[in-house]
Amino acid sequence: MRWDEVDELLRAALTKEVEEGAKGLAGLEERVIRELARRPVRRSFWERVREFLSRPTPRWALVGALAALLLGFALGRLTAPSPVPQWSPNLFVIAAPGAKSVAVVGDFSAWQPIPLSDPDGDGIWSASIPLPPGRYEYAFLVDGKWVGQDPLAEEYLRTFGEYVSVRYIGGGRANPSS
């Protein structure tokens, strides 16, 4: 067989193949467009938010909801009975080497003893007590003995000959804190 005959045979075969395949290509473009439309487009979060906000109905729903939230918050604040006291930790510390037990008593505990601890055994006993703003009278009990003069106190009172220490907590006043 000659080379020009081979060319002719190949051309005929290809033409036949294309003609047969053409039937399947009918509507291919539309099918591709439909398929692309069905697939979700990967967009960033902000693009999706922008799109959401650009829709008229959800935008107003969101504005309304936010307004309701702010109104509720404002009403909640206005109807609340009194301000939240800012509780801050306050360090009560006393040097009592050799003591077996040390406690602090005061207005903040209704004068019930709150034990202090000395974990490293160096004789420095301490406790950190969270307190709201206020003026507090207190004293230490060292092995049950009243010790009313705390060097860290701001004032002292004498009650029936015994000292009581006074601390003001809050208002930006420098308080010993843990």
Partner: protein, 240 residues
């Protein structure tokens, strides 16, 4: 849509109450009023006295003039002293409540109930406690009377049923400062340190937020004569 808006309104209210301005409980284990009144009922006082005190305490708990935590501790303490002295102490507290005074600020400062607890912790007798408490009551009555007379506060009486106001707290703190100066500082009514002592106390309480800023202005408007009058009235009940 309506449901969504309503939900947000409710959520906003909740957030506002929780994170805005809500009251923190004094103690997670605060006893109920019923527990306190049951304890009082078992202390063995006359039915009439118990009923009158229970009614006063209940109103006090509701209005913020007393707290269940400190009241129960106080009753437990008073159960250890002679009954007549305990009754006298409680009668002073009942009368103070009936006059609309704060007798207990909880665990956030000085007041009549904490004073009793402090004196008991110091080992003082029931007689001494009653005497101090009577004087504290005298200072409360005198302070309110003089502040009203000088036009520094409105109204010479406070309904015990009304919620506590900042004026009630001012009367308490001013009466306390006067009492501290006379009873514990050894000062006299004409002592030149008296006015600065009281003004300093009120200013500090304003700074830490216990009293509103207006209390500082009232403190500044006080005069040595006004304080002398408070002391005179406190020690002479018949003149109040």
């Amino acid at each position: 849509m309506r449901t969504l808006l309503l939900s947000f309104l409710v959520l906003g209210l909740w957030v506002g109450l929780v994170f805005g301005e809500s009251v923190l409980p004094l103690s997670a284990q605060a006893p109920s009023p019923a527990e306190v009144l049951n304890y009082l009922a078992e202390m063995g006082f006359s039915q009439e006295f118990t009923a009158a005190l229970s009614a006063a305490l209940l109103v006090g708990f509701q209005t913020g003039r007393a707290t269940t935590t400190v009241t129960l501790l106080l009753l437990q303490d008073l159960a250890k002293i002679p009954k007549d002295q305990a009754e006298q102490t409680l009668e002073i507290l009942r009368y103070a409540l009936s006059q609309g005074f704060i007798v207990d600020t909880g665990l956030t400062g000085s007041s009549m109930m904490n004073e009793v607890r402090k004196l008991l912790a110091l080992g003082r007798s029931g007689e001494e406690i009653t005497r101090v408490l009577s004087l504290r009551l005298g200072f409360l009555l005198a302070t309110r009377s003089i502040l009203t007379r000088y036009g520094l506060i409105l109204g010479s009486t406070t309904s015990p049923d009304a919620p506590v106001t900042s004026t009630d707290r001012l009367v308490l703190e001013l009466a306390w400062a006067c009492g501290d100066f006379i009873l514990w500082e050894g000062g006299g009514p004409s002592d030149p340190r008296f006015l600065p002592f009281v003004q300093e106390r009120l200013n500090r309480l304003c700074i830490v937020g216990v009293l509103p800023a207006e209390a500082g202005k009232i403190g500044a408007a006080l005069t040595p004569e006004a304080l002398q009058e408070i002391v005179r009235l406190a020690f002479q009940p018949e003149r109040r």
